[in-house]
């Protein structure tokens, strides 16, 4: 696990929101797998940390949940993006892009002179 980056709180929420936007309603296990796949297994999501994050998003009203049936007939709780969640996702994604753009400019060598 040493070379895999841990997922920290703030970005986990953003990833969850993005995942739900792309995939539609999904259960916790599905979200975790999806995040791992999308990061091409570079990120190790400790699945356990996902649930408090989901609860927080739900308390803030960005997602809602509902019990349903999984593909292989397991009972699972499905999470769904709300309208507020969509807005929040757009806002956070924009902020994140700005931050990374600034940092990228800082860190790439030789850029200072240009």
């Amino acid at each position: 696990m040493g070379d895999k980056a841990d997922v920290w709180q703030g970005t986990l929420a953003l990833m969850v929101l993005k995942t739900l936007e792309t995939m539609g309603p999904l259960h916790g296990y599905g979200i975790a797998r999806r995040i791992e796949q999308t990061s091409r297994d570079l990120l190790a999501v400790n699945y356990g940390t996902l649930y408090p994050a989901l609860l927080k998003l739900e308390q803030e009203g960005y997602i809602t949940s509902e019990w349903g049936q999984s593909d292989n007939n397991r009972r699972a709780k499905y999470y769904k993006l709300t309208r507020a969640g969509r807005r929040q996702l757009a806002r956070e994604a924009r902020e994140w892009e700005q931050t990374t753009a600034i940092l990228a400019r800082f860190l790439s060598p030789g850029e200072e002179s240009s």
Partner: protein
């Protein structure tokens, strides 16, 4: 916004945890199953698949723990947990809990009750907009606050410049004719400017203006306003009341509006159910209206300050204009500089309106507030001692918790929570006790007949006050024990077996403090009690035994003064002829009823020296007066029936005789009345028509009030028009029932239509006049008794504990040959030392208290050394009694048992 929503849900989550936990468990179960399925599909064995899934999840328990923290508010939950624990601890020790709660409830309840009264009498603002802008003009001598005359009000209104306008108000009793019956309605009259100054809007209809405050009330008769409660009760809150005609004192008026709810008038304790323009006074006071009379002082005068003005500028303005006002209000100089010379104009804040009760009760209430404050302090100290004892016996528990990693703040909070719960119990008890207590007090203060309509229902202000003192007491009582609990060192406390640490450090402070408070309370109670006894026992100039009185009211018959006087005299004759009646008389005012009367008399001495007095009390009496009232004649003789027809005679009281005839024998000399005061020009001859010859001298009588020095009284036989429609009959008889029956019979015989009056004994009057003192004595004695009890309990608990802790030491001492008496002496001396320190501090505090009491005492100095010594003695004996029991226990220690104990 999002955060708020999340917090709200989390707070809610605290209480719905169970179901959410089950849901999460189900969700995680589903999660694991899906993961295992995937892993099996990827080729793992079932065992391995499960193991990998669990590793990836990071532990079910840990996940649930994190989830739970997010679900609720951990800080709140630990608080709830502590609270539940505290409740369990209190339930486990019902005796301790009951004792502590009761102590706090007593202290809090006493404070709530006194504060309720203080609020109703002193603090409550008038329910009008910006009451802080109101000022009230006064005309008073000491506590006697009599109001302004009509001309003084007008003159003041013309000359003062700090108010937008002034108003004059007078309470009144109206006779309202309804369906043929006459009912008495308590009401008031107000000038046309009144509602403008008060800025009071009616609940219904309109209020008066200047056009309504004129003779006959204007073209459509007098306009009337109804009080809200009265309207609700008597007119069922009907809108149709507007325009309805009322017959008041035989005149027709029209209802034009209803006053807003909560407005009871400007005078606390007097309800204004019916309000008429001040002009109605000409009907009420007919045939002698008072509004233009220079010598009738009866109006409550208030004003509303202009922006930027204050009570101070109003006072300055009053001083600047007072000379002009006095001149215009009394051109004859007869009243303001004559009879009313001891009275002064003043202006003060009018925020609370005028309160007749405030004048009488402000000082006692301040004293009572101090007393109950001290009592609460004592209750807190006792609770602190109790809690401390509990904390010390739980030393092991605190040590264990601390060793297991409980932060100090948590232990601190635990103790404070427990005390807080006790205080909450105390608050509940205190509010009930306070409410009941306030009602009892109001009943005790009731005048003969009905209680004063003081509003003592618990209001927001009172509950807030009570809650805050409870919180404060919890802090005061809990802080010390909580600090001690935190200081417990885990190591040594866990090693030792039983409860450790003595309460020495705290006891050294608590016991003297309790004793000091008790000394102060006891001292106040004894001073008030002795003063009360003095008032009761000191010769009043009347003999109370067998003296019965009745206030006769013939106003319904509208008699002239001549007719009223004749009726009164015939009643006295009827009474005198009744078997069993020793003597009877008529009086113009009932004695010791705070009524006040003064007239101008003078005498001319042997060498032409004139002694003139405007403060002599004229008292027209029947021949039987001295025998009936029990006032002794000290020189000469009293009146006989023939005196009424001979040349005028009179009997001055001893102080009057000494005033008019200093160093001379008064008998046979003359006292003059009326006409020009010869002291003004020295030449005017006394008018022989207004002359009376002194035939005797009577002992002084405290006619006006038991609390005040006897007035100079001049008794003379009744002449034909001396009495008005209201007078008082006094009968002396060995049997109260005979006297009462005689009075009723006499009244029925002379004026069959008159209402039968209430018949009171002289003792009733005394009790009524001294009700303020009685309440003060009862309350302060009650507080002092509680204080003594609490102090004794506190001391006992402290010493008993000490003896218990030192059992081993005692055992060693006894084994080494100490006498049991020594152990007893040691314990007693240990308590006594603390008590002595407390007494010394208490005596100093008591002397400070005495200054506060000064104005309420009668015939006793506030620093009375005898009382001080007695109080110290009582405290010492109580302390001795409290230390004897633990002391004796110390002597009974068996050395063998004590030494084997470890």
């Amino acid at each position: 916004m999002r955060n708020l929503r999340a917090w709200f849900l989390r707070l809610f989550g605290v209480f719905s945890k169970e179901s959410r936990n089950r849901e999460l468990a189900a969700e995680l179960e589903g999660h694991l199953q899906m993961h295992i399925d995937d892993n099996v599909r990827a080729g793992m064995t079932r065992e391995e698949a499960r193991r990998q899934a669990l590793i990836k999840l990071g532990g079910v328990e840990q996940t649930m723990e994190n989830y739970r923290d997010r679900l609720g508010v951990p800080a709140l939950e630990s608080l709830l947990q502590d609270l539940r624990y505290a409740l369990r601890m209190l339930r486990k020790n019902p005796a301790f809990t009951a004792a502590a709660m009761l102590t706090l409830a007593l202290g809090i309840g006493a404070n709530a009750a006194i504060f309720t009264l203080t609020y109703a009498v002193i603090l409550k603002s008038l329910p009008v907009p910006h009451p802080g802008q109101l000022v009230r003009y006064t005309f008073r001598q000491g506590a006697m606050d009599i109001g302004l005359s009509g001309p003084a009000y007008e003159a003041l209104r013309r000359h003062e410049t700090v108010n937008t306008d002034l108003l004059a108000w007078s309470d009144a009793e109206f006779a309202l004719q309804e369906n043929g019956a006459v009912t008495r309605v308590s009401g008031a009259m107000i000038t046309g400017s009144g509602f403008r100054v008060l800025e009071l809007r009616p609940y219904l209809g309109r209020v008066f203006g200047d056009q309504d405050d004129v003779t006959s009330g204007g073209p459509s008769g007098y306009q009337a306003l109804l009080g809200y409660d009265y309207w609700k009760q008597h007119f069922q809150g009907s809108q149709a009341v507007l325009g309805q005609a009322l017959t008041v004192n035989g005149r027709v008026g029209t209802v034009i509006g209803v006053l807003p709810p909560g407005f009871d008038g400007l005078i606390a304790g007097m309800r204004a159910d019916l309000v008429l323009p001040l002009a109605f006074e000409e009907v009420l006071h007919a045939p002698q209206p008072m509004r233009r009379h220079d010598g009738s002082f009866w109006l409550t005068v208030m004003g509303r300050l202009k922006p930027g003005e204050s009570v101070q500028t109003a006072q300055a303005n009053l001083r600047a204009t007072e000379a002009t006002v006095r001149e215009e209000a009394d051109p004859s100089h007869h009243f303001l500089s004559g009879f009313f010379a001891p009275f002064h104009f003043g202006v003060e804040s009018g925020r609370t309106g005028r309160s007749l009760m405030k004048v009488v009760y402000q000082e006692p209430l301040v004293v009572l507030e101090v007393l109950v404050g001290l009592l609460l302090l004592l209750c807190c100290a006792n609770t602190a001692l109790l809690v401390l004892a509990r904390v010390s016996s739980r030393t092991r528990e605190f040590a264990l918790r601390s060793a297991l990693g409980a932060p100090r703040a948590r232990l601190f909070r635990q103790v404070l929570l427990e005390v807080g719960l006790l205080a909450a119990g105390g608050l509940g008890g205190g509010i009930c006790l306070g409410w009941v207590g306030a009602q009892k007090l109001v009943a005790m203060l009731a005048s003969i007949g009905e209680p004063p309509p003081l509003d003592v229902t618990p209001r927001a202000a009172i509950i807030a006050f009570t809650a805050s003192i409870s919180l404060l007491s919890a802090l005061v009582a809990g802080l010390w024990p909580a600090l001690r609990a935190v200081r417990v060192a885990p190591g040594p406390s866990l090693k030792q077996g039983g409860p450790v640490s003595s309460s020495k450090g705290l006891g050294r402070w608590m016991v003297p403090a309790q004793v000091a408070v008790s000394v102060t309370l006891l001292f106040a109670a004894s001073l008030l009690g002795r003063s009360f006894l003095k008032l009761l026992l000191e010769n009043s100039g009347f003999r109370a035994d067998g003296l019965m009185l009745a206030n006769v009211d013939l106003r319904a018959n509208k008699p002239t003064n001549v007719v009223a006087t004749q009726s009164a005299q015939r009643m006295v004759e009827a009474l005198e002829s009744t078997p069993g009646v020793e003597a009877a008389t008529v009086l113009s005012y009932p004695p010791i009823s705070d009524s006040w009367s003064a007239s101008h008399y003078y005498s001319v001495g042997e060498h032409g020296a004139v002694h003139s007095d405007m403060q002599t009390w004229p008292e027209p009496v029947s021949p039987g007066y001295f025998a009936a009232m029990g006032t002794r004649i000290v020189e000469g003789r009293g009146f006989t029936r023939s005196d009424a027809n001979s040349d005028p005679v009179c009997v001055p009281s001893a102080s009057a005789a000494a005033y008019y005839f200093p160093r001379e024998d008064a008998l046979g000399k003359f006292i003059y009345s009326g006409g020009e005061d010869p002291s003004l020009d020295g030449k005017t001859k006394p008018d022989p028509k207004n002359t009376c010859r002194v035939i005797g001298v009577a002992e002084d009588a405290r006619y006006h009030s038991l609390r005040e020095a006897p007035p100079r009284i001049l008794y003379r036989p009744i002449v034909r028009d001396d009495l008005g429609a209201e007078f008082c009959l006094a009968v002396r008889s060995g049997n109260a029932d005979i006297a009462a029956a005689a009075i009723r019979a006499a009244l029925r015989r002379v004026t069959p239509t008159a209402v039968l009056p209430a018949i009171l004994s002289f003792r009733d009057l005394v009790n009524h006049q001294l009700r303020r003192e009685r309440v003060l004595v009862a309350l302060s004695a009650c507080f002092a008794a509680i204080a003594l009890l609490l102090t004794a309990l506190g001391l006992y608990a402290l010493l008993a504990r000490d003896v218990l802790l030192r059992t081993r030491e005692m055992g060693v001492r006894l084994a080494l040959g100490a006498q049991p008496g020594e152990a007893l002496r040691m314990v007693i001396w240990q308590g006594l030392r603390l008590v002595l320190v407390g007494i010394v501090i208490g005596l100093v505090a008591a002397l400070a208290m005495a200054r506060l009491l000064g104005g309420l005492l009668f015939g006793i100095r506030p620093t009375d050394p005898f009382t001080l010594a007695a109080v110290a003695g009582v405290l010492l004996s109580v302390a001795l009694a409290a230390s004897v029991i633990p002391g004796r226990r110390a002597t009974k220690v068996d050395p063998m048992v004590a030494l084997r104990y470890e």
